[in-house]
Symmetry: C2
Subunit: 105 residues, 2 copies
DNA sequence: TATAAGCGCAACTATTTGATTGCACAAGTT
DNA sequence: AACTTGTGCAATCAAATAGTTGCGCTTATA
């Protein structure tokens, strides 16, 4: 069972959960109200996100508040960072120039 | 069948493919030599990446060179961007301060 | 023209995923 | 003490995924 951050954000529901929890810590029930699925389905997503350390539990009485733990998201940022300059317009123009030089030789 | 960028980068082999192709356009055969799977398996990943517009075909004779198309990767950057400030150390310290203020009222 | 090389497509398989339903259990409430 | 609420866990199921094998088409090469 793969359990990495990339897998975690692959599901649109999980991305939505991250978006909600990032704004405010919530209980599974409160979270589930935002989706058209069962509480269990949401709870499973929460479990996966917790295992990936994107969420963190905080039990208060019989309620469990899930908090957003942003550190792990950095792994994704680190993956994309090297490509960032490649979608920059100025670099694309440079790329065209480089290709012209290459095709001339 | 979900076919978005987040799904595309969820697989470690596909992330490796992206890394290789970003450095240099390659044919499926050349690419497959880097992995311990069959050419077909790699070819399937290529197909998915192409459908997501992360790769672009360029046929040269009987060979097909796949190029990296960085634009789509921006979707991922856009998703993480809002969280970026949250893993910054300075923000975390601010967060602690804010929580202290909140708990006092 | 016969053969080989480079690829994509189709069929099939095992595994994983996302979701549902039902149950158990601890923490509050009456 | 009995009932309700908030959760997690287990079993089950359909669909998607990642991989393999076999086939056929097109483009080079002998």
């Amino acid at each position: 069972m793969r359990r990495d951050v990339f897998q975690a954000i692959a599901d649109p529901t999980r991305r939505a959960i991250i978006g909600l929890i990032a704004l405010q810590a919530m209980t599974p029930n409160a979270l589930a109200e935002h989706f058209n699925t069962t509480r269990q389905a949401v709870s499973k997503h929460i479990k996966i996100l917790t295992e990936c350390q994107i969420l963190k539990q905080e039990q208060i009485g019989r309620e469990i508040y899930y908090h957003f733990e942003p550190q792990k998201m950095k792994e994704i940022a680190d993956f994309i960072e090297p490509f960032r300059k490649m979608w920059d317009t100025r670099f694309n123009q440079l790329d065209i120039v480089l290709n012209q030089i290459k095709s001339k030789k």
